[in-house]
Symmetry: C3
Subunit: 149 residues, 3 copies
Amino acid sequence: MEFASMDLSRIHILRVDPGEDVLAAIKDFLKKSGIRQAVVLGGYGTLAAYHLHWVKHNRIPTENHFRRGEGGIEILAMNGLVVDGEPHIHTALATPDGAFGGHLEPGCIAYVLCEVFFAEVEGVSLSRQRRAVDVEGMGEGEVSRLTFG
Amino acid sequence: MEFASMDLSRIHILRVDPGEDVLAAIKDFLKKSGIRQAVVLGGYGTLAAYHLHWVKHNRIPTENHFRRGEGGIEILAMNGLVVDGEPHIHTALATPDGAFGGHLEPGCIAYVLCEVFFAEVEGVSLSRQRRAVDVEGMGEGEVSRLTFG
Amino acid sequence: MEFASMDLSRIHILRVDPGEDVLAAIKDFLKKSGIRQAVVLGGYGTLAAYHLHWVKHNRIPTENHFRRGEGGIEILAMNGLVVDGEPHIHTALATPDGAFGGHLEPGCIAYVLCEVFFAEVEGVSLSRQRRAVDVEGMGEGEVSRLTFG
């Protein structure tokens, strides 16, 4: 493990409008605002369609499973990080039948409300670097590693 | 989409006591503290009973489905926003049988621990306004829109 | 209910590496950084194994149910609080079969990515104290109560 201590500069509140793609709206916001690094504090609202991915197993290298669906869906939470202007976000969703969720992909379409919150952070330069790992019980390969510059 | 960049003034930590209604306690806290706008950073703990709602479909106008239940329930997360002193919060809950969750309604009763965290924000005036929309594939009607003043 | 208004000092970003125990890494981070009180803003990534607990019912005194499992698991969210250097964290997890989650125990092993975010808070001294309660419908006993000094 490794950690960095940073200063919060500003809080940003993003409203994604009905029919808009949530991840595309987040990328548009990051481009227009020029924000390079931020903690995704949370997000909630509703979706009309989702597209997520999940890891398929716990061995290296990873493989992903993708799935799309439609309907009236509640967004319960979003957690993630923006590094070098690139968002990486996981989200918890639900219908009355139960909760589900995974890695937010393009194709999550906002229904009547979708608001996402970011804490811009500064003082340490965050980046992601490919790094070879060999982990007992998982195998060996490359993973993306958050690096504190 | 639209966004606003704001300053964080203070972090507020709310403890909801056993037997108290979570949403009522949050509203009481907002009234007593005079906080008008805040990001709901998170919340966790346990519930003795829940009352949630979910959207029923992905067409406009919306319809909601409500459900209550009792038991030993873990609160996994809360995400939301306080605008004009009014909280709008979604929560992820769980029992050993799995996770569920939706829009937090009156009737979520704290069991032995319930703590909720708020980031008060200032510099831009948040409000919610009814706005007519016509979205391809969803239909037309009024939705509540977060507005940055 | 009771609340405290505090100042945010710094944001801390923790990277937990593949094969590491998430809770052990968090405790190591808290020890090395000297952080005594913080809001757990969020956490996301993937796990190779989990160990959680849930409350068994909604009566006092509490009883807990524990369960372990393995596989490729997405971390959707983490919410919690660090008091007196001790973390208390709930997490929402998921596979393609749905979401689950509960109280984070030792034995949650990071798979290829795990990042956790903390907002260090100051100005009020947080502590946890055992307190006798007698709640209608729940019974009587001792609970751990967050106290604002």
